[in-house]
Symmetry: C2
Subunit: 414 residues, 2 copies
């Protein structure tokens, strides 16, 4: 079985200057890997004839598929277009479909076409054109000696649509790639090492399946991969998934590439439950994350960021005695906060956080990173103590995820 | 004046697989550009002998400085180390300073050294070693025919410290680079095109100074750059800065690479003012941004995310009549929210937002993206109507920045 290889060339001075991070290459790498075509080289160059020629020559020696992004501007004297013509020894031609697409695009926006727009349809005489559904510059496709070249605009939205809707299928067919089966199990609330120890006995029984543990600040992703069209092996992959799901049930939040706030939001929506939040440690991050999800106004009634002691007392009804006796950063305060906000706003569920996010604020007995998180679902409640690190922003993230996850488990009674 | 060029080689399978975005290259590009050494090529390859050799050969033909990140693991049979030895035709040697650094690093963490740690001090016989102050693997430096090669670990924190504390100065000296003078003026509240029109007459008088307008979702950065050691030209740069500052005074929030929440936080801290926030449209993002700044508990007393109408009435005292007559998304509601939160929490300043973040929620008369933002400073108040776009997350960002900026200007009476 031949291992095909791909290569990415990014043309763009903004990337070289460090103004833009090359997320285009990240996207393409992920997508190509998902069809069993690993990227071996990524090259970023400036929009200069000599550089483009040199990069294409090197790539053509190494890769079966070469994906180029950027450099395709609207002007006819475009350097990339010229380099493409020279490299493939072709001339320019007027492309009817591209012209139609440009005119259609302008018309939809009420813009009158100019000579420059006509010039946009003047493209190197490639073997195939993939139209641009969200912009004007099309994708140019060449094939030479069984190697496939794709020239796309650098605008992420346009490039992504071309890759997802056309190029992946095209390459699967042209290179007769073996199907890749991937499974994602997204976990939270358990460190990578403990999760690995827990699952190791199962994993050892499936050596033919590639397994990766990918830690994130807010949890660990488990990824399984199988490159095969053998039905027996595919059945084995499903068997592995079933066993892992059963063993790590408590920690698996989703098998989709979505975040916990979406998982919890979907659960609240499905069960028609309302939520309120009282945040000190996380400073509004939980509300912010929840309201990133469209439709969150259906279940999130209110969030109170009670940073001062006075606001904890006045808005949430935390007792001054509790604050005096145990301090604002305490199990007791976290509990009074979550009870207070649930009662005050009148919701089915509630979350609260209190702690020392850092870098300042530590005392002799309470270090930076100490955090109490509580959740309530009707009259069931839970409070947990956490010891995070010293980095404020990461602490906030971890505290927010802890709050969302405590509530999720409480609702599901896990 | 010779234009020196740099090149970056990133070694790392995680980047090629699309699991990690190559932000190391972004950082290095920015830093090198700041000393007048533009990066011309960025290449990402996997940790394989042949790939590394090939990438080094190509880079050495093109660049005066080659910065390599990643691939330097702790094991002695490391592929990158082997390739380095082969490329430079040198052997391995035990480095006393590196060994001392590794032992010191372990001791500080209470870890007992193993044979593997001894092996970490076995490095290719390079011309110079830059010690690692935050980890174990050092930076290896080679010079061949006036070209400089740096091999660094891929851990961002370690790489950054090496570049900032050593490599920049080293390259400035070795290549006798002409000094680069850069000025950043960060603006908000004015679109790029209007800002450009406003400043064009001034800019035209300084053709020798490179100017760039860099739009962000939340404002426009103006960057000036001058590569020169001529005192007359440097005086001209200062003159340009003074004139632009005066013309765009209202919009310039800082000349540092910091965000608006930090600028406003510093202002509140300096003037000893307290703040409360009432958010609907921005869903907690303003509180979240403010509490990202260490010490924000000094001025942020509370933030109320009043997503439901009931919470607007009960927590902020917005009148039911206002909600009925004008709707939750209205100038009137925004004003009652900002007045309510200021009074309720008892703060010097307050911000409020209400609107339709999308994608749902639009009515016949109120489209997605409509947003009202209000600010109060003591008894002065302002409310503004905005028409943002259709993307929820970008809308939240723009609404948050609008709120922070309205208050900043109100305090400064601009």
């Amino acid at each position: 079985m031949k291992q095909f290889k791909a290569e990415i060339i990014s043309i763009g001075d903004e990337v070289l200057a460090g103004y833009t991070v090359n997320t285009n290459a990240t996207f393409i790498s992920q997508k190509l890997l998902s069809i069993g075509l690993p990227v071996q080289w990524v090259t970023t160059i400036s929009d200069q004839h000599n550089e483009i020629m040199q990069a294409l020559e090197s790539a053509a020696r190494r890769a079966d598929a070469v994906l180029v992004t950027g450099g395709l501007g609207p002007t006819p004297d475009d350097l990339t277009k010229k380099a493409i013509c020279d490299y493939f020894k072709v001339g320019m031609r007027q492309d009817a479909e591209t012209l139609e697409n440009v005119l259609h695009f302008l018309k939809a926006r009420g813009i009158k076409p100019t000579d420059l727009n006509q010039a946009q349809a003047l493209i190197p005489a490639c073997d195939m054109v993939i139209p641009n559904r969200v912009g004007t510059a099309p994708c140019l496709v060449f094939e030479r000696n069984g190697r496939h070249f794709f020239f796309m605009p650098g605008v992420p939205g346009e490039m992504k649509q071309m890759v997802s809707d056309h190029i992946l299928d095209y390459l699967k067919e042209q290179l007769s790639l073996t199907p890749v089966h991937t499974i994602l199990l997204r976990t939270t609330g358990i460190p990578e090492s403990r999760l690995y120890e827990k699952l190791k006995p199962i994993l050892e029984g499936f050596p033919e399946i590639q397994t990766a543990f990918l830690p994130r600040y807010i949890g660990v992703d488990i990824r399984f991969k199988l490159i095969s069209d053998d039905p027996k092996k595919i059945t084995r992959l499903k068997e592995l998934e079933t066993r892992i799901r059963s063993e790590a049930k408590k920690y698996i939040i989703t098998d989709q590439p979505i975040e916990l706030e979406q998982v919890l939001g979907d659960l609240l929506h499905k069960k028609e439950l309302s939520l309120s939040v009282a945040e000190s440690f996380t400073g509004g991050l939980i509300s912010d994350l929840l309201t990133n999800i469209p439709g969150s106004s259906d279940y999130l009634m209110a969030g109170l960021v009670t940073y001062s002691n006075a606001s904890k007392v006045n808005l949430l009804g935390v007792s001054e005695k509790t604050l005096e006796q145990f301090g604002a950063v305490s199990r007791e305060t976290a509990l009074e906060m979550v009870r207070g906000v649930q009662k005050r706003i009148g919701t089915d569920c509630a979350i609260s956080t209190t702690g020392i996010a850092g870098p300042g604020g530590a005392t002799d007995v309470k270090p930076v990173g100490l955090c109490y998180v509580a959740a309530r679902f009707r009259d069931k409640e839970i409070v947990k103590e956490f010891h995070f690190g010293t980095e404020r922003l990461i602490n906030k993230k971890r505290g927010a995820v802890a709050g969302l996850e405590l509530l999720r488990r409480l609702i599901l009674e896990q």
